[in-house]
Amino acid sequence: MSERTERDSQSSVPRDEFAGRTEGRMPGDGPVAPAHRPRDAEVPDSTEDLRQASLWSDAWRQLRRNKLFIVAATLLLVLTVMAAFPQLFTSIDPRERGVCQLANSRQGPGTNGAWFGYDIFGCDYYSTVVYGARVSMIIGLVVVGGAMVIGVFLGALAGFFGGWFDNLVARLTDIVYGLPLILGAILLLNLLAADRFFGERNLATVSTALILLSWMTFMRLFRSSVISIKDTDYVSAARAMGATNSRIILKHIVPNALAPVLVYGTIAVGGIIAAEATLSFLGIGLQQPAISWGLQINSAQNFIRSSPHLLFFPSIFLSVTVLSFILLGDALRDALDPKLR
């Protein structure tokens, strides 16, 4: 191992020089490039495909044997369908007029055949909780997707090129890390709500605030993967064959550095869903009449003594959703990186 790092550090200087030359030569190299491309694309790509196929098919084989993965995947499938088509789970749409009867306000589970009872406005609580899945799933996936794109982009550039850009991104990361997530989100949401483009606190504002505060770990993870990969032999081989920096990053480094980011991302979806619920609970996330588990728990807090069911049902749905993503992430990590087990 030490021998290898030594060799790599020795060769890094001439290689960088070489990278600069290939980059400079690229535009004028029209006739050569097509002749090179098939071979260049064929050799490393086919080995990479083989490698990838075996990595992912290995992972898949291991995942299928993992009972926790089956449980988590099933739960997430149900929750995704619930988010996309809540009508399949309940015939009552709580957003319609006239569905809620104030006379039923805070009736306990079992009244009039309502499984989960009724909420403060006398709406059927089961259907309200089912409709809450949509917001959580959308925010969780959108925020992690956005944060992953920012993190991978900055991490790839910082890790591949190093230098002042790396330093700048590292300081920026430190600064944003210093702000506690919920506190930063409170400030940002107040700010974004005043913006003409966002206007009010809705899905877009909450997602934007959370993306801006959660990209750092993706960036750090991806940056360190890129640094460990950029000195491998297949990257040197690609470079020797005249591949440009952008081609090396997109075709060789990103696909091979993605696994840890995907694992962390899966677990992070759970954390983001919890963060959205926390913000809505604090009254600074989504606003009524949006349907969100955080809002439901918020309005339940004054009735803990008399109507604890208002607290329990959204809490259970919220925790099970977060749990499913964490279990899925754990299973993915075990399958993709046996060293981490």
Partner: protein, 307 residues
Amino acid sequence: MARYIARRLLLAIPVLIGASFLIFAMVFALPGDPIRALSGDRPLSPSVQAQLRADYNLDDPLPIQYAKYVGNLLQGDLGTDFSGRPVSDIIKQSLPVTVKLALTALVFEAVFGLVAGILAGIRRKSFFDSLVLVSTTLIVSIPVFVLGFLAQYFLGLRLGLFPIAGLTEGFRSYLLPGFVLAALSLAYIARLTRTSLVENLRNDYVRTAKAKGLTPLSIVGKHTLRNSLIPVVTFLGVDLGVLLSGAIVTEGIFNLPGLGRAVFNAVNSQEGSVVVGIVTLFVFVYIFFNLLVDVLYAALDPRIRYE
């Protein structure tokens, strides 16, 4: 060592300035006119409004406002809120509550997290090990505010074991919120300790110690634990930020008059100077503890040397 600390302190300065400017910019770009909000239904006369604006530097452009703020800060003046109360007073009053809460949480984390992690690590694949794995996963999936309400309902209301809100019962008032605040990190610490202990128990020096005839207790106590605690100490440094963030939620649920609640109220009433003061304090504490953790590395692991 001294040079390393000096370099880290120098590196912390731009981070601290960047973070406080970011907070400052976000707070003073907040919607609404705080002076108008202050005066309520009966508008103040224009001259009074102008006087107030001048007093709080509201007419200056942002960088100048910030420079004036930092200038005052360096002289120990954090400014006042809009009713004239010094921000340092607010911090003095609410800081002890948050510190006690965070310390209670840290004690819970260290005691329960470490013990659970060590026992699970020693008896790997036993019933206790599985119990720790399952319960930590469950705890991690329950958001802090949900856990707070569940603890309030079951331990406070149903069983009547703990006071559920306020500070009326002294030390006992901190137990439930402290536990709720600690829960998430407690689970992480238990897992981290377990994993790192299991890894270290595979090392050659453990076999040597066993061959020398040491008891399992002294192998773990004298040799393995010291090595296993390094990642746990790192985690505790990062964790402090999580504790401060969690304090906003926990103090709200359990009605504790700490920094978290003060900053939350200040954001809602647009008391810019209070928000900036408290959040800058949070960031400072976070950076300081991370530095402390890095220095502690050397004490725990003699292999790590700073040039």
